[in-house]
Amino acid sequence: MDFTRRHLLCGCAATALTGCVSQGGGGQIRAGYAPSLDSAEGGLWEIFNKAEADLKFSPLRMTDEELNRYVTDIACRLAGKHCTDMRVYLMRTPFFNATMAPNGMMQVWSGLLLRCQNEAQLAAVLGHEIGHYLKRHSLQRFEQMRDNSSVAAFLGIAIAAAGGGALANLPGLVAIANIFAFSREQEREADGVGLELMVNAGYEPVQAAEIWRGLIAERDAGLTLEERQDQKQQRDVFFASHPAPADRAQALALQAAAYPGGKRIVGEDRYLAQARAFRDTMMQDELRLHQYDRTLVIIERMKTANPGDADPFYYEGEVYRARNDGIDSGRAMNAYGRALELDETHGLSWRGIGILHRRAGKQEKAAAAFRQYLELVPDAEDRLMIQSYVGA
């Protein structure tokens, strides 16, 4: 519970309990910049260069070329002349997170890709992270730390992590990302830069606020009004130095509205075309977390983004089938049915229907549904089991 709640709003978005930050770090970085090796900044980069060398071989890395090219291209359009100074790594980890290291190593987690409704929302996150890079926020944090004893702790963690052993481990990666958890001012600044980059690249800036609205809806999903207040209060204590998600959504919406109107890219279809191939896997990873109320929020947002899409209804069926509480099997049956109305070749929905019937002891109906499934998905990986149900 805590594990997932905590991860929902984590990342550079809202991780640490750090104080304010002074101005420093030498302002905006120039294209092609690399610090001299004997400087503090150079040492900092070196730690992350080593971390990056290991990250390249992480088993969690999503290596599909087309997807990587798609995300990198968006990052490049946003970053402009800084394009070649950054590398994006897509990581299969089912939580909402993106991070930026001082050397230009950016991580985007699959839980974030699952939650974006369109290309503009992904661009908003990438733009925000690029903002941290351009403004050298990590260096600012580092310089601030050098003023006190926390630098020793920082170097301890960073060096251990970069050393390989500990870095091979996910909490290590998170720790190294979080050590640079940014201040409230830095987050605001990155939000501003992100919006600017979005607009320059032709994206609809209003979408930046929409991501936060989704996260707020997820945070509050399945909670009573009272619990929501508690949750909010807890958050307010926990993220004392960070903009609350609601404030952030509001600030972003206001800033976005200040840009002159015009025809801008939202890109629901483009995003779906790229994400579709990975969405089943990402959704299965999400379903395994058993946070059903929140998963349903993600699914509702998918329906809004692409109304004719059958998959979100199938996912809804999967949630209810897995939860299996009270009238959930009825709900699941309806959702699978709706998916099949939208796409009569949606074989996985037949699988779900078959399982529901089989659970209820309706063997004939189950067999009929499973036959449809096997016909539509001939290379089903559970084919042998399902065939044994059909009696073929």
């Binding site: 594990f3 088993p59 299969r92 996910l170 395994r288 399982i355 089989r358 559970d382 042998l384």
Partner: protein, 200 residues
């Protein structure tokens, strides 16, 4: 090499210590593994003593190269409404998936995936190749899974089980994907085939 060394050290410990960590299980030996299941060892194994098993719910844990490298876990009697394993970390146990009477095999597979994600704090667990398999002379199931644990170690697993008489009985073999999984896979399958109900 490593195998010999490990088992040799097990035997040494066995002879020296009063409260030993391991008990040798020699090839051909028939051993009860939990309530009402007996298996015959194929190859030499070491049974990890109760107090060193850690996670709750495991009726027996065997290993060849040490529990940090490979584990063969036996769950002899999971009751309806119960999770099949519990972590030593209570926070993780909140909302663990449970096995329920009437689950189909795909449901059981998903229940195992969801449980491993929590108990092993693994960001990614993917089961595949669900198929029918006789276990304990009853119709049962088998499937494999790939897991990237918190340590980012890539682990592969084999699950064989059956839902009979109102309980779930299951064994899980876990080992690093590279090298170790395939090294003992056939032996594990043979041990599964040797499983009988009742104690010897």
């Amino acid at each position: 090499m490593r195998i010999r060394n490990f088992l040799a050290s097990v035997l040494l410990l066995f002879s020296l210590a009063a409260c030993e960590t391991y008990t040798a299980v020699s090839a051909g030996q028939s051993v009860p593994v939990g309530e009402g299941i007996t298996v015959t060892a194929v190859g030499d194994w070491a049974a990890v003593s109760r107090q060193f098993v850690g996670n709750e719910g495991i009726d027996a844990m065997w290993t060849v190269d040490g529990p940090s490298i490979n584990q063969l876990l036996f769950f002899s009697r999971v009751e309806s409404g119960e999770p099949f394993i519990k972590s030593t970390n209570q926070k993780v146990n909140e909302g663990l998936p449970t096995w329920r009477i009437g689950m189909t095999e795909p449901d059981v597979m998903e229940m195992v995936e969801g449980t491993l994600v929590k108990v092993y704090e693994a960001p990614v667990v993917t089961a595949s190749n669900l198929r029918p398999q006789v276990f304990l002379n009853s119709p049962g199931f088998a499937f494999e899974f790939d897991m990237v644990a918190k340590s980012q170690l890539e682990t592969k697993g084999l699950v064989i089980g059956t839902q009979q008489g109102g309980v779930l009985r299951m064994m899980i073999y876990l080992a690093p994907k590279q090298h170790y999984f395939t090294l003992h896979e056939r032996t594990v399958r043979a041990i599964a085939a040797s499983a009988r109900t009742g104690s010897s």
